[in-house]
Every structure is written in C-alpha cells, then in structure tokens.
C-alpha cells in the first residue's frame, strides 16, 4: 500500500517531507504540497491502513499541516484519492470505483482534446471512463488515456520516483539549558551548516535559502542572491544577521534548515571586468545593511516618468543579468547638472512673472539672466499629480542654478557645472 499526503495551498515542503520521512525513508515529492510513500512493513508496526492513516494525520497536525491523506494499493491511486477527496481516504483493492467512480473526468490529467471527445461520448465520471473498453480507448485516445483508465482501476503499478531531496537538510537541536550568548549558538549552527554543505557538495546542490528557527519563537530567513555551499559564508551571514537583530530571549531550542537547489554555472566573459565574488559582495552588503538598515542599501534606478529626479532603490547585487531600465530620458543638455538632495527651499522675488532675486541656503543673489518657465506636469489621474515651473537662473553672485516652483513653494533644485 501507498500513502499520499496532499496539502492544498502554500505549505512548507521541509515539514511535509519530515512527516513523510517519519513513516518511510524514501519519499516521492510531487510539487510542493504533495508527497507519496510506501507503507510496506508498517502494518506490523502500526496496524492496518486506517490506523496508519490516522497516525499520518496526527503527525501532520503536529506540524500544523492540515491536509488530505490517500491510502491505496498504487502510488497514483493514493495521490488521486488525496488530491480529490477530503480527509483521509483508504481505498482497499477492488474498491477503487466505489470511492472514485463519481469523480468528474476532469480530475484526471487528460488533455483538453481528450476531455472534449469524452464529453462528446457522454462520458462524465471516472466510472463511465473505466467502463470503456481498453483497446477501443487506446485506439482512439492513445496510450495515455488507456493508462489513466488502468490507473483508476488500480491496475497500473509503478515504482516510486525517489529524488535527491528525499532527505531533508534540516537539523532540530533541543538544548539542555537556555543559551544566552551568540557564540555557543553559532557553534551549533556551524556544525549543522558544515554537514549540510558537505552533503550538498556530494549531491551537486547549493543552498538558496537558510531558515533558522529558535525557541522562544524567533525566525530568520536568509535568502541568498546566489546559491552557496560555503559553510563559512553562510555562517558569517547568519552571524551578521543575528547581531543586527538578536533573539529577544535565551534560546531553548534550535531548528536549522536549508533549501537546496541546483547551483548556478557561470562562465565569466573574457572581456568583462570581473565583478566581486558574489559571496564576498553579499557579506559586505550585509555588513552595510547592518549599519544603515536593509531598506537603505541598493542601486538607484531612474523611474520612467517626466517627474524630475524620480528614482527607486534596487536591491543589490543585481545578479540575474537584467539590465536597468533601458528607457532612459533623452538628455540633450550640454551642461552637467548637480542635484541638491533634498532640493533647497527658496524665496524668490518676481518681476513681470520672472524671477528677480533668489534666496536659499547657500544660494542667493540677484538674477542676471534667466530662461523659462519650463513646465512639467504629470500623474494627473491619481492623487500624486504634480506640476512645476522651472527656471534656469544666472545669479550676480556667480553660478547657474535651476529653481522651480510647485503649488507649495519655490526650491533650488541644483546647479549647472
């Protein structure tokens, strides 16, 4: 017999695997929320399929996984039962159609074309589907349809497809006494990370994410910009994070898990300047984030708008190869412009609607020459609508400045070099 646990909606793959591994060493993972495994040998340990199903449900519940359970004589039937029926469904041999016969045909992974043909034939349920002659079905809708028919009838048996991710990269370490210092905790973390990294090397994997969960409840998720299996780097990153936001109380239990993926294979371009090593760069950035705050580190990117000096901070490092927006404003000015950030509030005297005197912090003088107004406005369709009138002014004190007027006030935006 086989059992399937299916969790509809988003779930923790690590937890699900942990539950499955409690019952079987080898587990087939079908997507993020579905696992199937053999129950061979469990009958003597735990009892009949109903008992086993109850136990699976209990274990899953412990991990706050409320899903559906299917138990059947083939892996696919168990999956079908779990994915289509609520609660726990135990299908004994010969009872397949009793449980699944009334299900709609669309529950099977048939192509749209095959479904349309079956609808034309008046076949709506799995029972009606199974009643079709095998050879006739195969001749008309192909081998796949015939196999699905066998699957529903429990006649299609296949071995489990065990992937590398059968064993989770997870350590749960209950502590005998609470840890108040970071160092002993880092010691424990290091030990787990070293083991994980060794295993990942042998399995050609690398960590994309490290999850550290502590008790009393505290969680740290470290998403890595590039997959890594360097335990030192991972440890250093965790350390920096823990130093920046340490747990609020002494730690009584620790759980650490990594999410492994296929590592990136990058061949560097012969003619491109070498960038810093991603791991080192990330460490550096992490240090900076620790000083200035995570939301203040990144690379500025101009926004696609006529609003002057509008930009956002993009996360660094940008290793996905995407270039910053190619749609840059056309700049025809011959002079370089130096922005004051933030712009300086100013007092401007006008004569005949043209600036005559400008006074602001560090910028003041009589206007000797000016051009403008240059008018810009935008975002009229929302509450961020804006409008401004700009002037380029040359002051008697020397210097060429850009000043502008909004509905609120005058500002000096910067100076021309």
């Amino acid at each position: 017999m086989y059992a399937c646990i299916h969790i509809p909606g988003p779930t923790s793959g690590v937890d699900l695997l942990a539950v499955a591994n409690h019952f079987a060493p080898q587990v087939e993972v079908l997507g993020t929320g579905t696992v199937v495994f053999s129950l061979a040998g469990l009958r003597q340990l735990m009892g009949g399929p109903h008992t086993i199903a109850s136990e699976i449900a209990r274990r899953a519940h412990e991990r706050r996984l409320d899903g559906r359970i299917g138990v059947a004589q083939t892996p696919d039937l168990a999956v079908l039962a779990a994915q289509t029926r609520p609660g726990a469904t135990i299908i004994l041999p010969g009872e397949e159609l009793r449980y699944l016969g009334t299900l709609a045909l669309r529950t099977l992974p048939l192509s749209e074309e095959a479904l349309a043909v079956l609808e034309l034939w008046g076949v709506k349920t799995l029972e009606e589907f199974c009643a079709l002659p095998e050879s006739g079905l195969s001749e008309r809708l192909g081998l796949e349809a015939a196999l699905l028919r066998k699957l529903v009838r429990g006649e299609w048996h296949r071995p489990l497809r065990i992937g590398r991710m059968g064993e989770p990269f997870e350590d749960v370490v209950p502590l005998e006494y609470p840890l108040e210092d970071l160092q002993p905790l880092l010691f424990l973390i290091n030990r787990s990370l070293q083991q994980f990294c060794e295993r990942m090397k042998t399995e050609s994997l690398a960590a994309a994410e490290v999850v550290l969960s502590l008790l009393p409840p505290f969680e740290l998720r470290l998403q890595l910009p590039v997959p890594s299996r360097d335990s030192k780097t991972l440890l250093r990153l965790l350390q920096l994070n823990l130093e920046a936001t340490p747990p609020k109380a002494a730690v009584t239990s620790m759980r650490i898990a990594v999410v492994p993926i296929q590592p990136r294979q990058v061949q560097h371009d012969l003619y491109t300047l070498p960038a810093p090593e991603p791991e080192k760069l990330e460490l550096t950035l992490q240090k900076i984030r620790g000083f200035v705050g995570a939301d203040r580190v990144g690379s500025p990117e101009l926004l696609n708008t006529h609003r002057p000096d509008a930009w956002v901070l993009q996360r660094l490092p940008n290793l996905d190869g995407k270039k910053a927006s190619a749609d840059r404003p056309q700049v025809t000015a011959k002079l370089a412009f130096r922005y004051y950030r933030p712009p300086r509030e100013a007092q401007v005297e006008l004569r005949a609607d043209r600036p005559r005197v400008v006074r602001s912090r560090g910028v003041a003088g009589r206007v000797m020459e000016c051009s403008g107004p240059w008018i810009r406005s935008g975002d009229w369709w929302n509450t961020q609508s804006w409008s401004r009138r700009e002037w380029d002014v040359g002051l008697d004190s020397g210097g060429l400045y850009r000043i502008y007027q909004t509905t609120l006030s005058w500002f000096v935006e910067g100076s021309y070099d």
Binding site: V117, W121, N304, T305, H306, P329, A333, G378, W381
Partner: protein, 1019 residues
C-alpha cells in the same frame, strides 16, 4: 491676427484629442483667423473642419503630416488646387501600395507629388533634400515652444539654418488639442496607441499640457525674440489660397453611341422604357415623362441617370435582382429605365420629392441589391468601369461609443477586466436612453465608487471620448464615382475587405462637398427572394417572376392580419406584429402604409393611433379640409407621407412642386426658427388666398410643420411594400424554399435561424437535419417537400471542405465514416467530431450520434503506413445514445438551431404545474386576466420611442408570446431581463383584436440549460 498652421485633430487617430469643430470653435473664441489642419496621413477631418470654419468665418487651410519611409513625418500644407490634388495622390499612393496600417511615403513619392505643397520643417539635417524637392520658396522652418527646455537646442539649430539658407521661420504651437483640458485625453490616446496603461506609459506621455491652441498674445510673448516667425506665419497663411470650396470634382460623363448626346440618349432610353412599362402608355404618362426629362436636361443630370441605368442594366444582364429605393421611386423616368419597380403615376407619387429645380443638390438614387456575392459583383463592376482610382466606397467613421470607449479607457486607467465588464453591462445597449440614465448612474449601478478620484476621472474621460473617431470603416454601400481620378479629389485607402477601396470621407462629408454618391445597398431580403426563385425553379420546375406576382393573394393578407409574419420583409418585427391585427391590411396600399407607419416618426408624431382608430372605424376619417380630400383620403385623413405634405402645400397654399419640396426641407431636422417663420408666413398667405383661414388654417399649418419631421417618403414605402408582399407571397406558396433561402442568407431580419425553423415547422414544413449523405453547403429542398439543413449550419465546418464532401459524394456515396474521412482528408478532427455531434454521420452505419462519434474517433486517428487504407474493424460502440434533451442541446450548440423539440417542451409539465400558459393558448385567455408565460427570450427591444418600455418575445414549443415590461419593472429586474436566456413572466394579458401581449409585473429566470436561441436585442 496670428494663424495656427500645424494643428492636429482627433482624425489623427489617437494622435490628437479634439474634434475639428472644437478646434474651430476654440479658434473663434481666441480670434485666430486661420487654422491649418494637418492630421497624420489623412484629410479625414478636413470637410468637417472646413464646414465648421466656413460657418464662423475662419479660413480652414488643408494639410497633412505624412509618414516617411526613411523615418519621421513631414508636414505639408496645401497652397493651391494642384497641391491639394498632389497631397491626395500622395496619400493614396502610399496607402494603396502597403498593407493596411503599414503605409509610409517613399522619397520618390514625395518628390513626385511635391508641386503646390509647402513643407513645414523641423528637421535641420534634411533641409538639403527638402529644398531640392519642394524648392527654397516652399520650405519654411517651424519653431515650436511647448515650454520644454530640450526644444530650444532644436529651435536654435533651425534659426541657424534659417540665417544660413535664408529660409523663413514660422511660429506654431503645433496643437494636439483645442484647449488645455484635452491633454488628459491625449495622454489616454497615447496609451491606447502604444497598448499600455497610464501607469506604465512613463515618458511616452506628454511632458506638460502646452499643446493647445494659443491666442496671439501668448504666442507673441513666447516668440518675442523671433517676431519675424510670427510675421511669416501670417504671410504664409495668406499664400495658402486653397480651400475645400472648390474641389474640382466632376461626375463622369456616360459614353453614348455615335451621333447621340447624353440627353438625347437618355430621352431615347426613357421613351422606349416608358412604352414598355406603362401599359397603356397614355397622354398622362407621356406628359409626366416629358416634364421629368425636360428638368433632367435643364439640370444637366442625364449623365447621372445614364450611369445608374448602366448599373441596373448590368444587374439585369447578370440576373442580379435590383430595385431602386428612396425618393427615386417618385420618378417616372426611373421607372421607365427600370431603376425602380413602383409605378409612380399609378400610385400618384410626386416627382418634386425626388428632383426639384431649386434644390441645388444632386438627386439621390439608392439601389437595393441582394446582399453578399451579387452585390459585390456590382461593386466590382463599378471599380472595373471607372478604374480603381476613379471609384471608391465612402468611409464610415467609427466613433468611441458606449462599451468600446469604456473598455479602451478603463484598460488605460488600469481597471481590471471584471470591473470593466461590470460597467459595460450597465451601459445602455438600447435605443431608449432614459433621461436619468446618466453615466454617473451607470457607474454607480456597476458599484464603482465615484468618490474614488480615479473612478471619477474615468467617468469624466469617458464622457469626453464619446463621439470621437476611433477608426475609419467602410460605409455599407455608398460609392463615389469621379471624372478623371477620384484620388485627386480625396485620398483613397484600402479597405479591410480585399478588392475594396474607400475614400477618407463619410457620406455627410461627401454631401457637404458635393460629391455624388450612388448607394449600392445590400438587402438580405433581395438575396432571399432571388434564392427562393432559383430554388423554386430548380426544385418545383416552376418559374416565378417577382415583377408579375399574383396581386392581392388572400392568403397573404390572411397571414398579415393574423400577424403571422415571421421572416417577412419589414412586417415581422414585434411592433409590426402588434399592429397588424389592428390595422388588418387588405390590399397592397395597406402594406405601403404599414411599412411607413411603424417607424419612430409616426409613433413620436402621434400619427399611429389616429390612423389605427380610423382604420378600425372608431374615429371619423375626416380630412383637414375638403380640398385635401384627394391627398389624404388614402391614408384616412392622417398625413403619413412626405409626398402628402408637399401636395398639401401645393393645394392649400398654391406652392409649386419645387417650393413645396423646399418647404419640406426647411421644416426638416435642420430647421432654423427664422427659416420656419418665413415659410410659415408664406404658407399662411397662400392659404388665405384660397380662403382657408382660422382654425382650419392653423390645423393645416400645425399638421404640416409637425409632421415634416416624421413623414416617410411614400415612394420608399411603396418600394419596400413590394418586397414585403413578395416575401409574404413566397412564404405562403413556397414556404420550404422561402425558409431555406432565409436560412442561407443569415444574419438578417428580426429572428434567429432557430426561430425561423420552429416557425416553419409549426406551419407544417418538414425540416430535416444535416446529413453528410444528402446535405449541400447551403440549405435546400428535398421531395416532400422538406427543407434539408446545409453544411453552412455546422459550426466550424469550412465551406471548401463541405464542398469537397459534396463532390466526393457525387462521385460515389460514402460507405462508412472511415470512407468519408479517407476520401475527404481535408476534414479536420474538430469538423468530423462536430458532424458526429449534430447527427450528420448517423447515416453512415452509425445507429446514433455517439456511435458515430465513437467510430469517427477511430477513423480520424492516423493509422500508420501499414494499416492505411484498410477499413477499421467494425467494433460495437460501448456508448449510450444521447437523451432527447442532449440531442437538442447538441443541435443548438453545433448548428444554432434544432429540428427536434423545443427545449421548453421538456419542461412543459412543470410549467403547467406552475400555471404557465403556452403561447398558442394565450388567444383563449380573456383580456385583463393575470397570466404566466415562459420561454426562451428570442428578442429584447427597448426602442427610443417607447419611453422606457421594453418589449420581449418569449418562444416556447407552441409559438411566441409577446410581453411588455414597464420602465420601473425593467429597472427593478434589469439583470434578469438583460442576461437570462429563459424567463417566466407574470402579468395582465391584453388582447386587442388579436394583438396579444402580457403587461409584465414580475419576472423570474428559469434554469433550462443552455440558451435555445441567442436573443436578438434591438434598439
């Protein structure tokens, strides 16, 4: 006074956001003396721009921005007529040689059509080429100042070039809209053009809102450092002498035999025709012919008549049914030339309604042709005869309206599909516009929060965009023909339909500018009549001549009086069905009246009810004055026709025919108070001279002035009545052939094919389903006679494949489904499955549809080289046959109709239990009694004239029940009434002399499965 020489209107199609009229109105407000309209690659807006400018006294210059192959656009202004002709030819040339929407002018084309054009340049790098092509005198450099810093570098470069090359500078604001507020719509149009949203558009949007028409004071301040640019703009405007006043359009002459002039040839043809058609040809006929021909000669219109005659001759020679409609039917000459089918002298019609000396307008002859291929043949004949650039269809400007505007705008503003669908559902699709049904109410009904600024902006923009052009379409039949080449009068462009060319102006523009249009209108019923006659000839071996149908067939009038008119021309609508039992037509002229009376005009003008009461003998059929007895007697004293108005004025106030026609036009929709007072004065004076005074005079004047708006041309009604009678006669005498022809010419008329088939079945016609062993592409007849549905009703089946099936079958009958698929390998899987689904394969050794589908599935699977050509083993199907209901729904899905039971029949017992009366039994229910009716909604109608009342037709297995929904009930149950395919309606039955309807008080949706018929919803 400073002109604006580079303006865009909304006819730049998404590159300008104000209408030509708005630009002119704003120019007038700002005292701008002249504006040049330079839309992108077209002069579509030029006529409207010119007409609006002419009224106000502004000079409307013509120009265009032309897209160049080498990139960018070049702005050209028309200096003189040569320049205009060149501009038109340039646009035509570049548009006709490229796929639609991908046009651009080559340098060679620009060079070829350069004369008479002035180039407005903002490209300092291309000035050598421009000066070379247009000449130094005709290149001017355009300075723009939109308050954008980046523009100044270009302006400086242009000034530099101006000094160096001695080319003049001109100042322009190059407006994209009339006033600053229209910038928002411009941004929206930019997004629609770039298929993006306002949020995503970024720097595609306008940098500011400065591209509006600016008055002289503002422009003077802007260009204070370049006063010569302002001066030059004034100078240049003076140089642009061309306006649309004189296009140089000429109607082509008709080639006549040697020794003949067009006049003599027309006289000869008319005389011959008159002797043939008027029998006996009396002195009265002769006098009328001479009078008409004399006027035609005097107005130099012989060529026009000959060209239309030539078209009719082509039709007759090619056995294409043709009939002139409209006021042309007033003319004895048109009748003699066989352009029209109604004898105007027998019907005492009035020639002046068609042609009068003082009108200064071309007569209007519209030809009705069978829609489809036959009409296309006539259109292609015109192209062939006058050359591809000598004739073209008129355009139809498709504007932003209702849902289209909503969707385009909503997407740009970032609203989701669901919200847009909600708002779209609340926008009225009906002719009736509830005065309280404002956009605001529609938005609120769609649960859009107007307090949200974005929603408020959406609504504001939606109101603004309504009526602005979206794209250029093709008018249904208007063709313009020109002496020489039409492309020197107006640019031509390819239509979406292959082989068609359209001009850039619509029919109103053509009328305003004096272009002559011949309407070649496709009339579905003409095709039905033609097809019916052919089928009767082929199947019954009988020859039916539509020109000589037996007059006044009692069975025809019996059907009309019982409103048994489904499928008939003009008299099949809900409103007609309600009216026919009351009016009870007894002779041909009654049909003429019937065609004319169920129109918005007579209903709004309150002419319908008096006529019906008089018809029923309830009211005295008194005429307004004894002298009008001859004119009004045949419409029982109620003036219904425009010709009657003319005659009333002629009799009572001594107007001549021309004066009377002038009076009609003065009182028409474009009436002005001053003009009305003037004609009323003349009318009264004339009446007084004839001793008609006091109350009688007032009543006659009131009658003439009010009904001038609503009257219908009697000649037009008579032409249509002929078709209505012919359709009724064929339906009575050859119902299967007539129904088959109706089915073959869908979509047309008021009812869907499903209803037409059910109606035929109720009248005893046997209708048999599609069968691959028997059916043709089109529906046809079989011994019985029975109507055999054609392959044209099988959803998704291609015509060429169906014809291949027929050809193979003619070679040898199909032995099995495998034989069919083997011999017609073009059949796609979906086509075979659909044939099985609708039962068309049952005859090929398949007991039922599912068995056919089972076998078909095997037959269409590739067998592989080893087994190819072998018949598959005959294996028994394991499938159950479809239930009767399944068969009906398979029919409805696969063919849009069923020859089996009506879907409602399956629920009859349950409906009876709920007290529902079948449609057939409503006649036995006393008037005033509460009833329940139920059925498939086959028609929803909420006409403009009905003050918010909605009219429903519910079809069940016994017939059709008509229901009327009051405005308050409609609003209360709008969702059910608008969207549910089956309804139960409860209300009070009204039976007025056989005109039965239910005044609905309650509506309930019925869950009967898929829609039996897709309802036809009318305005």
């Amino acid at each position: 006074m400073l002109p604006e020489l580079h303006a865009h209107s909304c006819f730049s199609f998404l590159a300008g956001s104000s209408s030509p009229e708005d630009l002119i109105a704003e120019a007038a407000r700002l005292d701008i003396p002249a504006v040049a309209l330079t839309d992108v690659d077209n002069v579509c807006g030029a006529p409207r721009f010119y007409m609006a400018a002419k009224k106000i006294g502004i000079r409307a210059h013509v120009g265009a921005e032309i897209t160049r192959e080498s990139g960018g656009r070049i702005t050209l202004l028309v200096e003189n007529r040569t320049g205009y002709q060149n501009l038109c030819r340039l646009i035509t040339s570049m548009k006709l040689r490229a796929p639609k929407g991908e046009h651009a002018a080559s340098d060679a084309e620009l060079r070829e059509y350069a004369a008479g054009l002035i180039c407005l340049s903002r490209e300092p790098d291309r000035l050598d080429w421009m000066v070379d092509v247009y000449g130094g005198h005709n290149v001017v450099l355009e300075l723009n100042r939109h308050r954008e810093r980046d523009q100044e570098a270009l302006n400086q470069a242009l000034c530099e070039e101006s000094r160096r090359r001695k080319l003049p500078l001109v100042a322009s604001n190059s407006p994209l809209y009339a006033e600053p507020g229209a910038r928002e719509l411009m941004d929206v149009f930019t997004c629609i053009r770039n298929k993006t949203t306002l949020r995503e558009a970024g720097r595609l949007l306008e940098r500011n809102g400065e591209r509006y028409l600016k008055p002289e004071a503002v422009m003077t301040a802007l260009f204070a450092d370049h006063p010569e640019a302002l001066w030059n703009a004034r100078e240049l405007s003076q140089r642009l002498e061309f306006t649309l006043e004189n296009l140089g359009y000429q109607f082509p002459p008709y080639p006549v035999p040697p020794g003949e002039t067009m006049n003599s040839f027309l006289w000869k043809l008319a005389e011959e025709g008159a002797r043939r058609r008027f029998r006996p040809y009396t002195e009265k006929h002769q006098k009328q012919m001479e009078r008409e021909l004399a006027l035609i000669t005097k107005l130099d219109l012989a060529g026009y008549f000959l060209i239309v005659w030539d078209l009719v001759r082509f039709c007759k020679e090619n056995r294409i049914l043709v009939q002139g409609r409209g006021s042309a039917a007033n003319s004895a000459v048109c009748y003699a030339l066989e352009i029209t089918a109604v004898d105007p002298i027998a019907l005492d019609l009035l020639f002046e309604r068609f042609l009068s000396e003082n009108r200064g307008e071309w007569p209007d002859i519209d030809l009705d042709l069978p829609s489809g291929e036959q009409r296309e043949r006539v259109i292609q004949y015109v192209y062939q005869r006058y050359g591809p650039r000598g004739a073209a269809m008129t355009a139809n400007v498709i504007t932003y309206r209702g849902r289209s505007g909503l969707r385009d705008l909503g997407k740009v503003l970032g609203f989701g599909e669901e919200e847009l669908a909600r708002v779209a559902n609340c926008v009225s699709r009906w002719g009736f516009q509830d005065p309280e049904d404002s956009t605001e109410r529609q938005f609120r009904q769609a649960q859009m929060r107007l307090e949200d600024p974005l929603v408020a902006k959406f609504m504001e923009l939606y109101n603004r965009v309504k009526g602005l052009p979206r794209h250029l379409g093709q008018h249904s039949g208007g063709m313009v023909i020109c002496q020489g080449s039409l492309d020197s009068v107006v640019p031509l462009e390819p239509a979406t339909m292959p082989g068609r060319v359209v001009i850039q102006w619509d029919k109103e523009d053509c009328a305003d500018l004096g272009l002559i249009k011949v309407d070649l209108l496709g009339l579905g019923m003409m095709a039905v009549l033609e097809d019916s006659v052919a089928m009767i000839r082929d199947f019954h071996k009988e020859e039916v001549s539509l020109a000589h149908l037996p007059a006044d067939d009692p069975q025809v009038y019996d059907d009309l009086q019982r409103a048994d008119t489904i499928g008939l021309f003009q008299v099949e609508s809900r409103a007609q069905m309600s009216s026919l039992p009351l009016v009870r037509p007894e002779k041909f002229y009654d049909i003429v009246v019937q065609v004319a009376i169920i129109r918005p005009g007579p209903i709004v003008g309150n002419l319908y009810h008096p006529y019906v009461r008089r018809r029923q003998g309830i009211e005295d059929a008194a005429c307004l004055h004894p002298s009008l007895e001859t004119v009004l007697r045949r419409t029982l004293g109620v003036p219904l026709f425009q010709e009657q108005l003319l005659k009333m004025a002629m009799i009572t106030a001594n107007f001549t025919g021309s004066e009377a026609e002038e009076l009609r036009r003065a009182l028409g929709f474009r009436r002005s108070n001053e003009r009305m007072r003037e004609v009323e004065g003349r009318l009264r004076k004339g009446m007084e001279e004839n001793g008609i005074t006091g109350e009688v005079q007032d009543r006659i004047v009131q009658s003439i002035t009010s009904f001038a708006l609503y009257g219908f041309p009697e000649s037009h009604a008579a032409s249509f009545a002929l078709l209505a009678y012919a359709s009724a006669w064929l339906r009575v005498n050859y119902r299967a052939a007539f129904t088959a022809a109706l089915l073959n010419n869908q979509p047309m008329g008021f009812y869907r094919p499903a209803t037409l088939v059910k109606d035929a079945q109720r009248h005893g016609t046997r209708v048999v389903p599609v069968d691959v062993s028997v059916s043709q592409w089109k529906c046809g007849l079989e011994p019985g006679p029975a109507l055999r549905l054609g392959f044209n009703y099988v959803r998704g089946l291609r015509q060429e494949v169906a014809e291949r099936i027929v050809a193979e079958r003619d070679r040898a009958p199909f032995r099995s489904i495998a034989d069919l698929t083997g011999r017609v390998p073009q059949l796609r899987k979906d086509e075979v499955r659909m044939l099985a689904q609708v039962g068309a394969l049952n005859g090929l050794k398949a007991g039922h549809r599912r068995e056919a589908a089972w076998k078909a599935e095997l037959a269409i699977r590739p067998a592989g080289p080893l087994l190819e050509g072998l018949e598959p083993l005959q294996e028994e199907s394991p499938l159950q046959p479809m239930t009767p209901r399944e068969r009906i729904y398979a029919d409805l899905y696969g063919t849009g109709l069923t020859v089996g039971r009506h879907p409602v029949a399956f629920f009859r017992e349950a409906l009876l239990a709920r007290g529902v009366t079948a449609a057939r039994d409503l006649g036995r229910v006393p008037s005033g009694k509460r009833v329940r009716v139920a059925g498939a909604v086959i028609c929803r109608q909420r006409p403009e004239t009905a003050k918010g009342f909605a009219f429903y037709s519910l079809e069940d297995e016994t017939g059709i029940a008509n229901a009327i929904v009051k405005p308050q009930h409609f609003e209360a149950q709008r969702i059910e009434l608008v969207s549910e395919p089956y309804l139960l309606m409860e209300g009070i039955l009204q039976n007025q002399r056989g005109a039965i309807s239910v005044r609905v008080e309650r509506v309930e949706p019925l869950r009967f499965g898929p829609a039996a018929v897709v309802s036809h919803d009318f305005c």
